[in-house]
């Protein structure tokens, strides 16, 4: 579905600092990074190293203090709020740490939600959502509300929602943080399968060593800067 060789993410000299009263707290410092289509990348680092901030900047949920962000070749740092909304709606899939499903919608409706925002036909989006829920192993749970699903099941719905519009880029913020190791393995299998079958680019932040090892590329952040970028096998945890 995508040109895998083309860069999906290009970051040039990205810095971010938060203003806390009169104090400026640096979060990211001069990040330069390119991620090509079809990559399966883990971003790790100690707490406060800037993983989530970087993920939010790439996903147009937050703005950098300086630098340029290109997503699918588009400079998002000059985007208006509505252009950012459109980018998130049309080109990026999100998987959040706390599942973040819409509580009043069923698994099926949550999966359909982004497709609905895209203005897809009702029967088309229903078919896509039903098939995806089946793929993620939630057949028979389509009409359950998030509160009626386990943590792992909710995360599977979140994955289905993220991949439903077939975005080039899927960002996942600690996708296995709130599930047990067995469920985490299952989720990773699922994401890897989607990466290989559909060519989706995955970038996820994680603390989980298993996830780091399963990734094809590891980026280690330390104090807001890239400390390591390469094959996970060549990295040893500090």
């Amino acid at each position: 579905m995508n040109d895998t060789a083309k860069p999906v993410i290009q970051l040039s000299h990205i810095s971010k600092a938060y203003q806390l009263g009169e104090i400026k707290v640096p979060a990211l410092h001069d990040i330069n990074l390119t991620i090509n289509g079809g990559e399966f990348v883990a971003m790790a680092g100690p707490s406060g190293s800037g993983k989530t901030t970087l993920l939010n900047i790439i996903g147009a949920l937050d703005d950098p203090s300086s630098g340029q962000v290109l997503v699918n070749g588009q400079d998002t740092s000059i985007f208006s709020a509505s252009q950012k909304s459109e980018l998130r709606r049309m080109q990026i899939g999100y998987i959040f740490q706390h599942y973040n499903l819409i509580p009043v919608l069923t698994a099926l409706e949550n999966t359909e939600y982004v497709l609905m925002l895209q203005g897809r036909d009702k029967s088309e989006r229903r078919d896509i959502a039903m098939n995806l829920l089946k793929e993620v192993g939630l057949q028979g749970k389509e009409h359950h509300l998030p509160s009626q699903l386990s943590g792992g099941q909710q995360q599977r719905v979140a994955i289905a929602r993220a991949i439903a519009p077939e975005p080039r880029l899927i960002l996942a913020d600690e996708p296995t943080a709130n599930v047990d190791s067995h469920t985490a393995e299952g989720l990773l299998d699922l994401m890897e399968q989607l990466n290989q079958e559909k060519g989706s680019t995955f970038l996820f932040s994680t603390h989980d060593v298993t996830v780091m090892k399963r990734s094809h590329r590891l980026i280690w952040l330390k104090d807001g800067a890239i400390d390591y970028d390469g094959n996970p096998s060549g990295f040893s945890l500090p």
């Binding site: 939010n56 996903g59 949920l61 937050d62 709020a81 509505s82 909304s85 459109e86 980018l87 998130r88 709606r89 049309m90 999100y94 959040f96 706390h98 973040n100 499903l101 819409i102 509580p103 009043v104 919608l105 409706e109 939600y113 982004v114 609905m116 925002l117 009702k122 509300l145 929602r161």
Partner: protein, 406 residues
């Protein structure tokens, strides 16, 4: 648009507790406002109807300047023509005569106003015959019976069956005096009436005052929705030299007071409505704050600010519609009950007397379509108005900050 409506409906339908609290607030405010309107409308309508139908009438005819002078010799001409014209436009005409004199019982005496009347006409057109505190209205045939105002009866220490002596100056200059049996004592009507009235059969009045059938007033009564201006013109045509006045012209201050009462109630309703709007705003705001996390997710996955604003407004509209319709439906049987049964204010006060006029002691609501359309429409409008701020708040959320809220 259909998806937007469907999503708003899902949010409204599936969040039953939140919807129930907000719609319940709107419904309660709707019910209270409808009851307030119906009761205030009823108070004005029934009080005026009580006032006019008891004795005053909706219109009155007098000889020129009689109202200023109470001159015994200034009489209404063309009484028969007036009665005929009145019957043609659906009004009942009651001819009356007035004279002044003294009345005594035992060793008590007092000045009084004697009213001569036709019992049949009074019974046909007015409520006074049924407005008795004790005893009964005089018989249709003259029988030397009198009816007394409630305060005069207290002052003279008399009750039905007692005798009173009347002493007056007759129309020919002679002294007229008669002995009457008290047939009944009126329930309170108004200070002046209660303190001084002695009502007699027209024939007994004529005999006492030697009035030779002089009529000083013709009171006209009819349905509550009588077109007073048209009626006045018709009566004036029948008796061109007679002064015809509506009750509003006769009792200007009272008419003004009833209009002011309506205005006061409207102002009160407005204040109440604003209070209700603040309540609705508060519940909608609370509901929005509870859902910040959810709105954050929506925004993060690409929902536009406009869509979030529209969705929140739609939810406000749905909840407002639900609350105001439920409020309207619940208040209907309450208004019907208040119209039929009313609130008996005698348990709190003996009688309600405003500007010398005794009002109906049973406070009844007035069932009209107006509040059932106006109040829900206003509540719906207020709900939408109250939804604007939460909708703006939601649409301007920063998704990452909102998702941190739990």
């Amino acid at each position: 648009m259909i998806d937007l409506i469907r999503l708003a409906w899902l949010n409204t339908y599936r969040q039953k507790q939140r919807t129930a609290i907000t719609a319940g607030t709107i419904a309660i405010c709707t019910i209270l406002l409808i009851l307030l309107f119906a009761l205030s409308q009823g108070f004005v309508t029934h009080s005026i109807e009580n006032f006019t139908a008891s004795y005053t009438g909706k219109l009155q005819a007098h000889g020129e300047e009689f109202r200023d002078t109470f001159d015994f010799y200034t009489e209404v001409e063309n009484v028969e023509e007036l009665q005929l014209a009145a019957s043609e436009i659906g009004l009942t005409a009651a001819p009356r005569s007035f004279g002044f004199g003294l009345v005594a019982a035992g060793n008590k005496s007092a000045g009084g106003m004697f009213i001569g009347m036709d019992p049949i006409a009074e019974k046909q057109g007015f409520r006074m015959p049924g407005h008795m505190k004790a005893g009964e209205f005089v018989a249709n045939q003259a029988n030397a019976q009198a009816m007394i105002g409630s305060l005069l009866a207290i002052n003279l220490e008399i009750e039905p069956g007692d005798e009173i002596i009347a002493l007056v100056q007759a129309a020919d200059g002679s002294m007229g005096n008669m002995l009457y049996t008290v047939a009944g004592i009126f329930a309170p009507v108004g200070d002046e009436f209660d303190r001084s009235t002695i009502m007699l059969h027209q024939a007994d009045f004529d005999e006492l005052f030697y009035s030779q059938g002089r009529i000083h007033q013709v009171a006209f009564n009819g349905p509550a929705d009588t077109d007073l201006l048209a009626a006045k013109q018709a009566l004036q045509k029948a008796a061109p030299n007679t002064e015809i006045m509506t009750w509003q012209e006769l009792y200007v201050t009272l008419a003004l007071m009833s209009e002011m009462m309506t205005s006061y109630m409207l102002v009160f309703a407005l204040i109440f409505g604003l209070g209700a709007a603040i309540g609705v705003l508060n519940t909608l705001l609370m509901a929005s704050y509870e859902r910040l996390h959810e709105y954050g997710i929506m925004k993060a996955v690409g929902t536009t600010s406009l869509r979030l604003f529209s969705g929140t407004m739609l939810e406000g509209l749905m909840i407002g519609l639900l609350g105001s319709v439920v409020g309207g439906l619940v208040s209907l049987p309450l208004v019907i009950w208040l119209q039929d049964t009313g609130i008996d204010i005698r348990q709190w006060m003996d009688s309600m007397n405003v500007m010398g006029v005794a009002f109906d002691p049973i406070w009844r609501a007035d069932l009209t379509l107006e509040p059932f359309i106006m109040v829900p429409a206003v509540m719906l409008f207020l709900s939408l108005l109250a939804a604007i701020y939460p909708a703006l708040l939601v649409s301007r959320l920063n998704p990452t900050e909102a998702m941190r809220e739990h």
